[in-house]
């Protein structure tokens, strides 16, 4: 079945117009990734409604190509103007920008492109190899386990992202709570609709995604002064020296790719954490620590290889259990559900060819990043000179009309505007918007699985602790939530 699905996926990917979406998606990704403040999540969120007329496979391939391209795109502004396009390129500024100042901008961009391509390729190829194992794990899960995975996902995000545990928990719970608006999934009961027909279908998670990623971000972006740079950027250095640097350190690229993949698989950790973690590891394992921060090419290689490595990692919980590892994978999960594909067993059974086709698209996308990043490197500086005030009205128009297009329902437009503004204030006060979105995305799935579990157990909550996998998930959730408070006390007591 696996081999057949792989061949089917290859045939699908290289058919027209499917392959065209890869060719379109990667450059769009590079552009949105290079625009500081825009990034992968916002870029993917505003593209999401545009994928409505597309076939599910094509829509997913377009979005994963944008995701892949944006990871590399984030390095462009980080290297050229010291402003990371995405959080996942924050640590790239540390050596990338000094390289640019030292007249090695093109070399740094070539390292970023080659390192990103190799690490992205390796992490997705590893995901391919791991997929039969993932299928076995996923098939062992039932309703209680799926409900607990949703709870575990939110718990993990609350402890991984910065800020207080309570803030994270209520963000996630608020997201879950607002999904109860509309018709109840397991009973013919109307909930919290105020008699409005437009609220019967409840909160659309795509509208929530657009609101939080697009509207909240543009409100934040509006306060930033004009363009990133008004002056021309010096594109000095040699592209081939950059490529040679990476090719002479292939194991380093693979190592940082795997660091990214591992961290990316932790929900909420994402490319930003991987980026700094890999940079720290590059400094630690180097014999020339002092050169880091002054333009060490290994600093760029480590950070850029790690952030593209997170793509493969973050897809593991997203595809297996519907728990997105990052903002971008939350949008991807939204796209899956919007096109009628449920994460979990379905993706590894009936839809296995679809799954493989977008994993293959990621592999091909990495080759395009390499080609584009190396040969179009001299043109990339232009992107960073675009005035943000030219982008904002376009994003708002795409978001509002896109939100309305979801179901021609003004309730969705209201949802995206209200959650956009609420999301802006939540970001300002360190509330996790990823936890909020995870709650909105998983709400219906979590409720359905909770109620199904309770029906199976005739109303007893024991079902969540009497099954081995469920009990493990409960223990893991409790450890994640209480561990940071209890472990130091136990350590202190032992001492």
């Amino acid at each position: 079945m696996v081999v057949e699905s792989i061949f089917e996926a290859i045939a699908t990917l290289f058919s027209w117009p499917t392959f065209g979406w890869v060719l379109i998606g990667v450059p769009i990704g590079v552009i949105v990734g290079a625009l500081p403040g825009v990034g992968s999540s916002l870029g993917m969120a505003i593209i999401l409604p545009l994928t409505l007329p597309l076939q599910p496979t094509n829509a997913l391939i377009l979005l994963v190509s944008v995701y892949s391209g944006s990871m590399y795109g984030g390095s462009v502004s980080a290297i050229l103007v010291n402003v990371p396009g995405t959080g996942g390129s924050a640590a790239t500024t540390l050596d990338g920008y000094p390289m640019s100042q030292n007249g090695q901008a093109m070399q740094a961009l070539a390292i970023a492109a080659t390192g990103s391509a190799i690490a992205g390729f390796v992490s997705v190829a590893t995901l391919f190899v791991l997929s039969p194992v993932i299928i076995e794990v996923v098939l062992a899960f039932g309703s209680p386990e799926y409900f607990l995975m949703a709870v575990l996902g939110i718990a993990m995000i609350t402890v991984v992202v910065r800020g207080s545990l309570v803030k994270g928990l209520i963000s996630g719970a608020f997201g879950l709570m607002i999904t109860t608006i509309g018709i109840a999934p397991n009973a013919p009961e109307l909930r919290f609709t105020f008699g409005s027909l437009s609220a019967f279908d409840g909160v659309d998670f795509i509208a929530a995604l657009i609101g939080v990623f697009a509207i909240a971000e543009i409100i934040k972006l509006a306060a930033q002064e004009g363009g990133i740079t008004d002056t021309g950027i010096e594109m000095d250095g040699n592209v081939f020296t950059g490529i040679k640097t990476v090719l002479s350190n292939p194991l380093a690229a693979i190592k940082y790719g795997y660091i990214g993949m591992f961290i990316g698989a932790i929900p909420g950790a994402g490319a930003t954490v991987a980026n700094f973690f890999a940079y720290g590891e590059a400094v630690r394992s180097s014999k020339d620590e002092a050169s880091f921060g002054g333009g060490n090419p290994m600093g760029v290689l480590a950070t850029e290889a790690s952030n593209n490595g997170t793509i493969g990692g973050s897809l593991i919980p997203t595809l297996s259990f519907g728990i997105p590892g990052s903002g971008a994978t939350a949008v991807l999960l939204g796209a899956l559900l919007m096109h009628g594909i449920n994460p979990g067993p379905e993706l590894f059974a009936d839809e296995l060819a679809t799954t493989y086709s977008f994993l293959l698209a990621l592999l091909i996308g990495n080759v395009l990043i390499l080609i584009g990043g190396v040969f179009l490197v001299t043109k990339l500086g232009i992107i960073t000179q675009i005035d943000t005030h030219l982008i904002i009205p376009i994003v708002v128009v795409l978001s509002v009309i896109g939100g309305y297009a979801l179901d021609t329902n003004w309730f969705d437009v209201g949802t995206l505007v209200i959650l956009g503004i609420l999301g802006y204030f939540m970001i300002q006060h360190d509330y996790s918007v990823i936890a909020l979105l995870l709650g909105v995305i998983l709400g219906e799935i979590a409720e359905e699985n909770l109620i199904t579990s309770l029906i199976i157990s005739q109303g007893s909550f024991d079902i969540f602790i009497t099954r081995p996998i469920s009990a493990t998930l409960v223990a893991l959730t409790l450890f994640i939530l209480l561990g940071p408070f209890i472990v130091p006390k136990i350590k202190g007591y032992i001492r």
Binding site: V166, A184, F192, L390, I392, I401, W410
Partner: protein, 186 residues
């Protein structure tokens, strides 16, 4: 007295975190109360569970200043299991200048407030008269407020019209009609 000064005073006196928490508390309390009236038991379990967490959490955060210090630290402290290394952070400040309480173009409203207000206005007028007609007006108003060059405004307005028409033609959504006026559309 300018429009800005009373606005700034309101902003200074308002802790926007309380707005977030009160929104959560009020909506959670309503859902907790309303769910008691549901006929089917299976319809009330999940809303009560989630609203209960929201209400309890928001009350704890609202009462944070008067809580005992041990409880206070549990509520406010972070509990990261994975923390990015900060020892290698760049000393150089990012080049983007951001101040949510200021206008970068010397207008009476801060930029972020204007962006929020014009987005709400765009959605509302779109509901009233049809998104197709208000889209270029929105783009024009945004460009004029932020003092963009006329050439840039023309580009933004043209692009916005292109997007609106594109959505209408390709996805076939009725954005030429309003819900209050212009109900007939094109």
């Amino acid at each position: 007295m300018t429009i800005k000064s009373p606005f700034e005073r309101v902003v200074e006196r308002t802790n926007t975190e309380y707005i977030v928490l009160l929104t959560m508390l009020c909506s959670g309390s309503y859902m907790l109360w309303e769910s008691r009236t549901f006929q089917a038991d299976v319809a009330m379990v999940f809303p009560q569970m989630t609203a209960g967490i929201v209400v309890a959490g928001s009350i704890l955060l609202l009462l944070k200043p008067i809580l005992p210090s041990r409880l206070h630290s549990i509520i406010t402290d972070g509990s990261q299991i994975v923390e990015p290394s900060t020892s290698h952070q760049s000393d150089e400040e990012p080049k983007i200048k951001e101040d949510p309480a200021q206008s970068t173009v010397e207008r009476p409203l801060p930029d972020s407030v204007f962006a929020a207000v014009i987005t709400i206005a765009y959605a509302l007028t779109g509901y009233v008269a049809g998104l197709l007609w208000v889209t270029p007006l929105f783009a024009l108003a945004y460009g004029v407020w932020f003092k963009l060059q006329w050439r840039s405004i023309a580009v933004v307005v043209s692009l916005s019209i292109l997007i609106a028409v594109g959505f209408m033609e390709l996805i076939n959504i009725p954005i030429d009609t309003g819900e209050i006026i212009n109900q007939g559309g094109l």
